[in-house]
């Protein structure tokens, strides 16, 4: 009969059921799409707080005398600009400018960095990092030993503060603290980052400790509205915040400039890097296509892969992500379209089940914190 692939599981898999999770195959991982309802979870993160298991994400340790120069050769942002206990969002590209992955770089020590990569790209990324190794550097893929939780939402700080002596208000956006004790669980890296367009933290720790931390957070947070959240809400939240998703907004066919994460591309940094020539050329000549925010004004919801047409009927691109926005109650999406149509207020059509439905280019992010 059908060939059955063995799905990977995070160390929290056994706990999901206790919290009512509906589990699905998500790119080879058996992960919770929702616990209660996507809309309820989305709402919890916008108004109170949500807890996500994101242990499927990959982690690679880069150590050695040349760690900084090696990473700077590998990625598009300038890692020389960050200090110890700072994190940076960046992209890793092929020489032609297509994207290998988007990632976070954490500077742990002067010669030691943690790279956090997408779950579906772990093997590919690690192989790419090995192929492009330069100088005195060692790489260690610690993905299968490392767990990660994200606590996100306006109450994330106060909930987490109940469990630790470290003053969380001192951890600024995109900075972190190492070896924090949270509710008796030690060795947690606490990072003020996230993927929901809300304030919050990402917590990295050893696999064997994550179940205790998950339970502890829900124990103290539930009365403040903390809810376990699945990947469904993670997707609607990140899309409202216009955060790119690898495989949709970013791919080997789409450069970080086209994807709209040009803020993470420093073509003028001192060191050379892979894709420098290609990305510099894209910048100088101007982009032929780019990702824009769209709102479907007719009746329908845009989805990944749907075709986009100009008002006069020319095919100009494709929807990369789309959903009914739970916060805005509108049908929103991101689309990769030809640059001449990529201007705010431009009228477009999205082909939804063989019908051309009206849409318009809008400013992003669709949703901003505190609005």
């Amino acid at each position: 009969m059908s060939t059955r692939t063995v799905l990977k599981r995070t160390p929290l898999f056994e706990v999901y059921k206790k919290y009512g999770a509906k589990v699905i195959d998500f790119g080879g991982w058996e992960l919770p799409v929702q616990f209660s309802s996507i809309l309820e979870e989305h709402d919890a993160v916008r108004k109170e707080a949500g807890l996500f298991d994101v242990s499927h994400m990959g982690e690679v340790l880069v150590e050695g005398k040349d760690a900084e120069s090696y990473i700077n050769y590998l990625v598009t942002n300038d890692v020389a600009k960050i200090s110890i206990n700072q994190a940076q969002y960046t992209a890793m590209c092929y020489p032609d400018g297509g994207t290998v992955d988007d990632l976070l770089v954490y500077k742990l020590e002067n010669e030691k960095y943690l790279l956090v990569i997408n779950a579906s790209n772990i093997e590919k990324d690690f192989e790419w990092m090995k192929q492009n190794l330069k100088g005195e550097v060692t790489l260690k893929n610690i993905s299968s030993d490392t767990a990660q939780l994200a606590i996100q939402g306006p109450k994330a700080e106060s909930i987490l503060q109940n469990l630790t002596d470290v003053n969380l208000s001192e951890i600024g956006f995109f900075t972190f603290a190492q070896n924090v004790n949270i509710g008796g669980i030690d060795g947690v890296l606490v990072s003020r980052t996230g993927y929901t367009a809300e304030d919050g933290f990402e917590l990295y720790l050893a696999n064997e400790k994550v179940e205790a931390l998950w339970n502890k957070l829900l124990e103290v947070g539930t009365e403040d509205g903390l809810k376990p959240c699945g990947l469904g809400a993670r997707d609607t939240l990140r899309l409202e915040g216009r955060l790119a998703l690898y495989g949709q907004e970013l791919s080997s066919e789409i450069s970080p400039l086209e994807a709209g994460i040009g803020f993470a591309v420093k073509t003028n940094k001192e060191s050379d890097f892979i894709a420098k020539a290609a990305l510099t050329e894209q910048k100088e000549k101007g982009l032929k296509r780019k990702i824009v925010g769209i709102e479907v004004t007719g009746r329908g919801i845009a989805r990944h892969g749907y075709k986009v047409f100009s008002e006069d009927g020319k095919e100009i691109g494709v929807v990369t992500s789309g959903t009914q926005s739970p916060s805005l109650k509108k049908s929103i999406g991101l689309a990769l379209i030809s640059a001449e149509h990529a201007k705010v207020d431009m009228q477009l059509k999205v082909e939804i089940r063989n019908k051309q439905i009206d849409a318009v280019v809008v400013k992003t992010p669709f949703y901003k914190k505190g609005k």
Partner: protein
């Protein structure tokens, strides 16, 4: 399930059918289906006067995550559409058997209803699928 659902007929595509006067039936999706779909955010019903065919697509229903087809459990002509769903598709999640109904159809051949499942048969069908 409640008493209200005992008189319904069911399709293997998880639609229910309620026989009204004459050849008219009301169609909706089952509680099992709405739970499986999750939060419903969009419904595309057929229009009044459209012909529908048993076991063929008559529209679509979308949850936050996914698009699914609606299959007609009967053949006939659409006579009424639940227009409230246009602004409040979540009604299907809340009241799948009453306020969340989809369409009413004038069935061309009432004998077609005999091929649909009775409540206990439908329940057995669902339980089989879950194993």
């Amino acid at each position: 399930m409640t008493n209200a659902t005992a008189n319904l007929l069911y399709s293997k595509e998880h639609e229910w059918v309620l026989k009204l006067d004459g050849n008219r039936v009301r169609i909706g999706i089952t509680d099992y289906a709405q739970k499986a779909l999750g939060d419903i955010v969009f419904v595309e019903n057929p229009s009044v006067d459209d012909d529908v065919t048993a076991n063929e697509s008559m529209g679509t229903i979308e949850s936050v995550k996914a698009v699914s087809e609606l299959f007609s459990p009967v053949s006939g002509t659409v006579v009424t559409v639940n227009e409230n769903l246009e602004d409040a598709p979540e009604t299907i999640n809340e009241h799948p058997y009453d306020a969340g109904w989809l369409v009413e159809v004038e069935v061309s051949n009432l004998e077609d209803l005999e091929s649909l499942l009775k409540e206990e048969e439908y329940e057995a069908f669902i339980n089989e699928g879950e194993e």
